[in-house]
C-alpha cells in the first residue's frame, strides 16, 4: 500500500489535479503540495501528491556520483 508513484502533473484546479504516468491518468489531491504547478513531477501516494521531484537535485546527485569517481565519464 505504501507505493509512491512519480507522475507528471498535467492539470491543476485548486487543490485537485490530474497526473499522468505511462498513459495512465488519475485525479490527485494537492492539499499537501499547494505550490505544485502543471508540468511538475510529483510523487503520488494513496491519491495525494506528497512531494515534488526536483530535476536540479537529480542532476546534482548524478554529478556527485560522477565527481566521486564512481561514474567515469559521467552522465
Amino acid at each position: 500500500m505504501c507505493l509512491g508513484i512519480p507522475m507528471k502533473l498535467v492539470r491543476v484546479d485548486g487543490t485537485v489535479g490530474t497526473a499522468e504516468v505511462d498513459g495512465v491518468s488519475r485525479k490527485v489531491m494537492l492539499d499537501l503540495l499547494p505550490e505544485a504547478a502543471v508540468g511538475d513531477y510529483v510523487i503520488v501516494h494513496a491519491g495525494y501528491a506528497i512531494q515534488s521531484l526536483d530535476e536540479k537535485e537529480a542532476k546534482e546527485t548524478l554529478a556527485l556520483l560522477a565527481g566521486a569517481g564512481l561514474l567515469e565519464g559521467g552522465p
Binding site: 500500500m1 505504501c2 491519491g47 506528497i50 512531494q51 530535476e55 537529480a58 564512481l70
Partner: protein, 369 residues
C-alpha cells in the same frame, strides 16, 4: 525529469557502482538494514543480494506498516464490520492480514468490508451512503498518515470516522538501535517516509548512535549509491561531517514536506503504540487530537482492544523477521505452510512484507521444498 529518471536506471552506472562496492575490503562483515518494504522489493527484484560480495549483508527491518499493525487493531476493525454494522474501508493488503479472523473472512460472513485506494474513496462511500457508519481503517507510516490528516482537515461527513493505526518510523529506529545484539553497521532510510518527514527527524539518533545512515530512492542507482556510501563509511569507520548521506536529493529535503508536517501536527498527537511481533514502542503511534474526537472510531464506538488475541501464529517467526534477526527462509513455515495464497503471518500477506517479497522473487534454497 524523464531523462534523469532513466539515468537512475542506467545499466552502466549500476555496474560501476557494483564494482566500487566489490573493490572495498572492510575486513569484516558489514550488515546494513533498510526499513522499507518497497526497498526490500527493489532489492529482490534487481537481484542485488546475488551481486554483492560475501562481506555485505542487507537485512530488512520493520518497514512494512501492514505487517506491524497489531492483531488487536485488526480485530477491532473486524468487530466494527461484524458487530457494529459499520462499513470498514481499508487498503487491499490489510483485509488479508490474520488476527482472530481476517477482514476478508469477516466479509464472507456478512461484514461489510471494502477495499479502497486511499482515504478519499472511503469518504466518498460515506457521502453516497449517509445512512451507514463508514470507518476508514488507517494503516500506514507517515506517507499515509499525512493523507488521513489532509482528508480530515478538508472535512468529512458525520457518518465517517477513522480507526487510527498509523505508525512512525524514527521512534522504531530508536528502539531498534537500543535493542541488544542488533549489530547494524548502517541504515538505509525509507525514501517515501523521508520525502514527507525530511532528514531532520533522524539527526538526533544519527549523532547519538554514530551509525551511518543514507536516504535512498527506489531506482537501482539510488539504492546502490546509498549502499556504497554506507559500506564505505562502515568499512573505514570514518566520521563524515554529515552523518546522513542523501542519495535521494530529488525528492528528499532536510525539512521534508513542511505543509504535510504541519497538517499532521494539527491532526495527530504522538502516543506509545504496539508493533506486531515487536511490542510497544514509545511515541511511535499517531492518535487523533481532541478536536477530531468525533472522527475517532475507537471513541465513537467505545471499542476496547482485546489483549487476549495472539499476535502471531504458533511457529511463525514474523516478529524476528521484522527485527532483521532471522531471514524468512529460516522460518519453518516459510513456503511450505505459509505462502501468499495461505499466509499465516503478516509478513507473508502484505506486498511490502519481507516474506512476501522473498517468496515472490526468491529462489527456493537447496534442500527446501
Amino acid at each position: 525529469m524523464k531523462a534523469s529518471v532513466e539515468s537512475f536506471r542506467d545499466a552502466r552506472t549500476v555496474e560501476q557502482l557494483l564494482t566500487e562496492i566489490r573493490h572495498l575490503s572492510p575486513g569484516r562483515q558489514i550488515r546494513i538494514m533498510h526499513v522499507c518494504g518497497t526497498h526490500e522489493n527493489a532489492i529482490c527484484q534487481f537481484g542485488f543480494r546475488d551481486l554483492f560480495p560475501d562481506w555485505l549483508t542487507i537485512v530488512a527491518g520493520p518497514g512494512c506498516p501492514v505487517c506491524v499493525c497489531p492483531a488487536t487493531d485488526i480485530d477491532m476493525a473486524v468487530r466494527l464490520a461484524t458487530d457494529r454494522g459499520a462499513i470498514v474501508a481499508t487498503f487491499g493488503d490489510v483485509v488479508r492480514v490474520p488476527a482472530r479472523t481476517t477482514l476478508l473472512e469477516a466479509k464472507a460472513t456478512g461484514g461489510d468490508c471494502r477495499v479502497v485506494y486511499g482515504i478519499d474513496d472511503a469518504v466518498e462511500i460515506a457521502r453516497r451512503e449517509p445512512g451507514r457508519e463508514v470507518v476508514f481503517f488507517a494503516v500506514g507510516f507517515e506517507t499515509t498518515s499525512c493523507t488521513t490528516a489532509a482528508a480530515l482537515r478538508r472535512g468529512v461527513p458525520d457518518n465517517f470516522s477513522v480507526l487510527c493505526s498509523h505508525r512512525l518510523v524514527p521512534p522504531a529506529l530508536e528502539a531498534l538501535v537500543a535493542m541488544p545484539g542488533q549489530g547494524v553497521d548502517g541504515f538505509i532510510l525509507p525514501g517515501h517516509v523521508t520525502t514527507v518527514m525530511g532528514i531532520r527527524d533522524y539527526r538526533p539518533l544519527a549523532s547519538r548512535c554514530q551509525i551511518p545512515m543514507a536516504v535512498a530512492g527506489f531506482e537501482p542507482v539510488d539504492m546502490l549509491a546509498a549502499i556504497l556510501a554506507l559500506s564505505r563509511r562502515a568499512a573505514s569507520r570514518e566520521r563524515p561531517s554529515d552523518p546522513i548521506f542523501n542519495a535521494y536529493g530529488r525528492a528528499v529535503r532536510e525539512d521534508g514536506n513542511p505543509v504535510a508536517r504541519r497538517i499532521m501536527d494539527e491532526t495527530f498527537e504522538r502516543c506509545d503504540a504496539a508493533w506486531r511481533g515487536i511490542g510497544t514502542i514509545p511515541g511511535s503511534g499517531h492518535r487523533l487530537r481532541g478536536a477530531y474526537a468525533r472522527q475517532d472510531a475507537q471513541r465513537r464506538f467505545d471499542m476496547t482492544p482485546d489483549e487476549s488475541i495472539r499476535d502471531t501464529h504458533p511457529g511463525c517467526l514474523c516478529g524476528e523477521v521484522l527485527l532483521g534477526r532471522v531471514e524468512p527462509e529460516d522460518c519453518p513455515l516459510f513456503r511450505s505452510h505459509c505462502n501468499p495464497d495461505m499466509p499465516l503471518g503478516p509478513c507473508m500477506v502484505a506486498l511490502e512484507g519481507t516474506c512476501h517479497a522473498r517468496y515472490r522473487h526468491g529462489r527456493p534454497a537447496r534442500g527446501r521444498s
